[in-house]
Amino acid sequence: MDIMSFQDLFRQEATRREVLTTGHVVPEPERCVQCGICSYNCPIGIDVRGHVWQGRAVKDSHCLTCGECVARCPRGVLSFQRTNLFDGRTK
């Protein structure tokens, strides 16, 4: 691995951590078919599917941003995005 790609990797990892700490799980509702895999795999039982149905980001204070729902969704509905806590919309 050359130095450039190592730096890229480091930057990617730093960005990933930043998103995990400052971001929320944000849905793209039109991709969703309400199968419920997200809620099923949430370790603390957040109704992720319900958020998607209403087109809302998961701003539950209990959300660990562990990424289980994002990774398990078979249709790529969910992603981590930095969100503005105060206006309720994704940036």
Binding site: E28, E30, R31, C32, V33, Q34, C35, G36, I37, S39, Y40, R49, G50, W53, R72, P74, R75, G76, V77
Partner: protein, 438 residues
């Protein structure tokens, strides 16, 4: 005001939500004969593959129904009287309505191969079907899957995940020929073969063989016999139009509705799989069998029923699915022609995908990350994104809003063009330029 909604699928529920949003006091009566009520039909695939428990398939909890303040009548509507504004409900008698919604869905086309009524011949159309397959897969070592489209692959992959050896019959040499191109089909079929699926090209089932009423094998048209205990089929769906037809409503392949989801009879609306919706853009009436449009149509129908005139604007059809483990997004117009493995439309399908005007195909990528674009004169007409989904959202927006691609058209059509990079760069630039309008 009494609103009667027939059907408890996503179109019916979305209509109830829209009505309640507009009218807090009107009476909403939901009539349905599905013992399971509202559940995610597309989610059955994930239940079959073992990624999900069947208890998880229900998006609505009791309090969600409570919030809508609706009356549920469990029963089957046997007749509609459009002039009298009444419906007959089995075992409940006659019910008056002011506005009626037909959100009755669609049903799987039956296999008419001899032996199709044997025990062990299954479809994936309903939660009961999925439960039956899960139960049977415990005993069956081998299964034959017949058909095309998304549902056939859901059956193949679900059975493989449950340890069943699967023989997949295709009438031709490609999978889902009407939507995928040859290479895409090849990618999918190769991945299935890598998972141990035995694919039988140019093969048709001539007879399902049985013993004491149960499946023991399949005889093919060219005389081969394959032993199996399970035969699963997915050869298309048919909108449920019987009620509408009997009531004298205009029906083609589905129940015909205008852009306000109104049928030919006063105060009767239709939405979802059962509806054949007028699309002002193409001037044609189109069938979709997709969760998203069903929800949108149901919602628009509900608003119209409650007096807020709202046209249903058909957007570019869009579906995300997983084909042989590859997340695949299909947007706009991507394919052409007929599919010999399907009769009519398949679940997760839209007729728009095959209404191909003159478009040039540009492609890039390899095996698991593939991108195919259908490039029109000034805009993108369709896209298939397989594997990496980074570009699916930008492409969806570009196709949906008809973004002018004149500046990049020649780049996209250049031989061996890095089309993913061209799109990504153009999208970034386009968004910056249009940020103030978004």
């Amino acid at each position: 005001m009494r609103y009667v909604i027939i059907g408890m699928g996503v179109a019916g529920i979305a209509a109830a939500e829209a009505i309640r949003r507009q009218d807090s006091t009107g009476e909403i009566v939901l009539v349905g004969d599905d013992p399971h009520g509202f559940y995610s039909r597309p989610g059955l695939a994930y239940y079959l593959s073992g990624e999900l428990s069947d208890r998880q398939l229900f998006p609505y909890a009791a309090q969600d129904f409570h919030k809508l303040n609706l009356r549920y009548v469990k029963g089957r509507v046997t007749r509609i009287y459009p002039v009298e504004h009444q419906v007959d409900v089995d075992r409940h008698g006659r019910l008056d309505y002011d506005r009626l919604l037909l959100a009755v869905g669609s049903t799987a086309v039956r296999l008419n191969t001899p032996g199709a009524d044997l025990e062990g011949v299954v479809k994936l159309d309903h939660l009961d079907d999925a439960r039956r397959i899960v139960k049977m897969a415990r005993r069956a070592k081998t299964a034959v899957v017949i058909g095309g489209g998304i549902t056939a692959l859901e059956l193949v992959e679900g059975l493989v995940a449950r340890g069943v050896r699967v023989h997949y019959f295709l009438r031709g040499e490609c999978y889902w020929r009407s939507v995928l191109d040859e290479e895409e089909s090849q990618v999918i079929l190769q991945r299935l073969q890598d998972d141990g699926v035995r694919i039988h090209f140019c093969t048709e089932a001539a007879e399902i063989l049985g013993k004491r009423g149960r499946v023991v094998g399949v005889r093919t048209a060219d005389g081969r016999q394959i032993k199996c205990k399970l035969v699963a089929f997915a050869i298309g769906i048919r909108p449920r139009t019987e009620l509408a037809q009997a009531a004298g409503l205009d029906v083609e392949r589905g129940i015909l509705v205008n852009e306000y989801l109104q049928t030919s009879a006063a105060d009767i609306y239709a939405a979802g799989d059962a509806a054949q919706v007028f699309d002002p853009l193409s001037g044609r009436s189109i069938l979709d069998s997709l969760w998203g449009p069903a929800r949108d149509q149901g919602y628009a129908a509900g608003l119209n029923m409650a007096g807020q005139q709202t046209a249903y604007v058909k957007s570019a059809p869009f579906n995300v699915t997983r084909l042989a483990g590859l997340t695949t997004t299909i947007i706009g117009t991507v394919g052409r022609g007929q599919d010999e493995d399907l009769l009519g439309i398949a679940r997760g399908d839209s007729e728009t995908w095959r209404q191909l005007p003159d478009a040039i195909v540009a492609q890039s990528g390899f095996d698991v990350n593939r991108l195919r674009l259908l490039v029109g004169e000034k805009r993108l007409l369709g896209a298939i994104v397989m594997g990496d989904q980074t570009l699916s959202m930008p492409l969806q927006k570009m196709i949906l809003t008809g973004v002018d691609i004149t500046p990049i058209r020649s780049k996209l059509l250049a031989p061996n063009a890095p089309i993913a990079d061209v799109i990504a760069d153009y999208w970034t630039q386009w968004r910056k330029e249009h940020a103030s309008q978004q």
